[in-house]
Symmetry: C2
Subunit: 437 residues, 2 copies
């Protein structure tokens, strides 16, 4: 008798057949006695089709109107899903973001949730019915429709789970969970059974796309256990949760624990390898090494609207009193940022500008890294042995990221994955089977 | 400086090009100084496509969910239209039925408007912006989305015009206005310049499809002048209004009046001929002529959900004490109604049942009919001369309807249209031109 929030993405509701398939799954959960809240995205390509329509009208649609337009997508999928569940004999009601009490600020296109007041969802659950809620959307104080932007439906699901005090938020996808690396790149990648919010944050920020970064941040803040799993199987997926002690895993035999956690308490625990080829690098050469110069430089960059990721500043050469500053940013922001920096050249007084869109970023994520100097040595050694040059390095408590040439990124992922013993082995496959997967 | 409500149907917003076209028209009205509120239907076939999707899920979708699904259609068209108008440099905001304050009862699929509280529309107009409102939809007291059923967008437009105290409600369509007969049937049909609510009601009830019956009822009750006109021209269309005295026609030269109204005060003024081939006839033969029998019979019919139109009961034959009762109803309701009557045969004690789906109905509508016996004589004479048999007759203050064979209906329309001098002539064409059309 748990309270479960389930989130299904666009591919899970792409057509009538898919909708019927997940309706069956939802009806089964309800019949098993769980209180079920479902968050849905728009069907398949609906959002893109609506964007195309807007594009036919105007290149710059007012954001308020674009939000109204896009939210038509979830309206369609949620009502169809409610019909499909009802047809199976389980009562279901669908709710817009406004009806479900997802209150946001008024920043159209990337609204932030300010409160969740799910009276009608509670009421629906109390009648033993399934509540279906439109993902990605909310309502502002002025009763205007807003959208949450990228990863919006994941965020809706986690926010509702937090607001309702749900036992778990299940994110359904077309893969089995979070993997130690992208299985399309490293075929030996293993599914991760359990991972902390912080590690998941670093993986998502490093390029893992299964779960939206923002939803993980929300889950971490409100301590919502998130279960990432496949909508095509009943296998347990990956549980994202705060600490290793209090995990919920109904399928695991009592007393058992996954292979990774059997290591010594103080050993670093490597979660996985993420990679990202969506960034470019800009280097500002010969910046005067004076107080406030970096601040001014990044004011210019922020003014161009770019989301900066890694920043590296070299120690300045004593002979010149100048330094080089490199940073990575999304491909799409490169040209506007270059233009803004060019315009500010006189003010900042740098020597030259370089941009490079042929880079790749690899991130190794895991707990206990900082206190284990061996981790970075092993990472750099693995890349050296694979003949891969490192162009930038950046570290956090639980992550080491390196920038390489884009065309060696996949080799780098495989080399690092192997060097940290993340590859699937026979022994581990047995553990897999042993926990009922 | 008028306050104008404009309503555009699905064909006027069928694609991006059409939306841009009417956006231009709306922007011009705003630039000319009018306060403009626009009511839109869903794009082209959107509603049918959504119904098909629902049909793929279940044959009997819950009505609440169907309403949520269908209202996605206006959400798309209204936001696109707001974008298109904004692109032309005129600020526009779109509102759902809920946001525009269209409060309804909770009868999903055919909700009745209970109040119109258009605060946000007022606020938008006061800023000099165009307010766009989703047609066909409203919100119930429990904050559930409702739809108004057939002719819903016309009704939304008239209700908003009433609630806002608009000077006129313009209904845009793909024809030039209301005609003396369907121009596809009687090619000589003339556009009607002015018509009273009552006559328009009878024409709509008689089968004229340009304006929804329900919207006319609403307009009559709240005395909203309705201007039915083409979205493809700037010609004046047909003004539907209470009395002939206080019509608004900005294009008419002062002191002029249209040809029809120049006749003597007491002469009947024929508005036009409507026809309808969507009905069938059921005859209950040999009903015992006892008090309450008709009531019981129509209780059975109402229980089958049929919308009865004409009812004719013959004088009972003294020899048998029995009578025949015939009535017309939509084709779609025939089989369920026949089944219900069959089941009640023992109780009612009639002799036999007959159904006939090959009928057509012609209605002649005009003021002053009842006090001019010559009208019906002329009508029946015209049909006799055309060799058309009359199967049923029903009359009101301002209408005479006859049922004919379906395959002689179009001939009947032409014959009657001609007999009442409704055909367009050279002289009238001059009057047309003279009033600037």
């Amino acid at each position: 008798m748990a309270l479960v929030v389930q989130k299904y993405g666009g591919s899970s509701v792409a057509d009538a057949q898919s909708i019927k398939r997940i309706a069956k799954r939802i009806a089964e959960a309800r019949r098993a006695g769980d209180d079920v809240v479902v968050v849905v995205s728009a069907m398949g390509d609906t959002t893109d089709e609506l964007l195309d329509l807007a594009g036919e009208i105007t290149p710059l649609p007012p954001k308020r109107e674009l939000d109204i337009l896009l939210t038509a997508g979830e309206r369609i999928s949620m009502s169809l899903l409610a019909m499909a569940i009802t047809k199976l004999g389980v009562k279901a009601k669908s709710f817009t973001g406004q009806q479900a009490g997802l209150l946001t600020d008024a920043v159209h296109g990337r609204a932030q949730i300010v409160d969740v007041v799910p009276h009608r969802v509670h009421e629906t659950l109390s009648k033993g019915q399934v509540a279906i809620v439109a993902g990605f959307q909310g309502v502002s104080r002025s009763n205007d429709v807003t959208t949450l932007g990228r990863g919006g439906s994941d965020t809706t699901a986690v926010a509702l789970a937090a607001g309702l005090g749900a036992d778990v938020c299940e994110i359904y996808t077309d893969v089995d969970g979070i993997f130690t690396a992208d299985p399309r790149v490293a075929s030996s990648a293993r599914k991760i059974d359990r991972i902390t919010y912080e590690e998941m944050l670093e993986l998502a920020a490093g390029g893992a796309k299964v779960l939206a970064l923002r939803a993980v941040e929300y889950a971490r803040r409100y301590e919502v256990p998130v279960h990432v799993r496949s909508s095509f199987t009943t296998k347990t997926g990956t549980l994202v949760s705060g600490t290793y002690g209090d995990l919920i895993d109904p399928n695991a035999p009592a007393g058992s624990s996954a292979g990774q956690e059997e290591a010594k308490m103080e050993d670093p625990i490597i979660s996985g390898v993420a990679h990202d080829d969506s960034e470019a690098k800009i280097t500002v050469v010969g910046v005067p090494d004076k107080p406030g110069m970096a601040a001014r430089l990044f004011e210019v960059v922020a003014g161009a609207g770019a989301n900066i990721d890694m920043i590296v500043q070299n120690v300045s050469a004593a002979s010149t009193g100048r330094t080089d500053i490199s940073f990575t940013l999304p491909h799409a922001s490169t040209s506007t940022t270059m233009a803004a920096l060019n315009a500010a050249r006189g003010e900042i007084g740098y020597d030259s500008l370089e941009s490079d869109d042929q880079i790749g970023k690899l991130s190794l994520v895991g707990a206990g890294m900082k206190s284990n100097p061996g981790v970075s040595a092993r990472l750099f050694g693995a890349l050296r042995d694979a003949g891969i040059n490192i162009e930038m390095i950046s570290t956090s408590e639980i992550r080491i990221s390196v920038v390489t040439r884009a065309d060696s990124l996949h080799d780098a992922v495989r080399a690092v994955h192997h060097a940290f013993d993340l590859d699937s082995t026979d022994g581990e496959a047995v553990v897999y089977a042993g926990t009922g997967r």
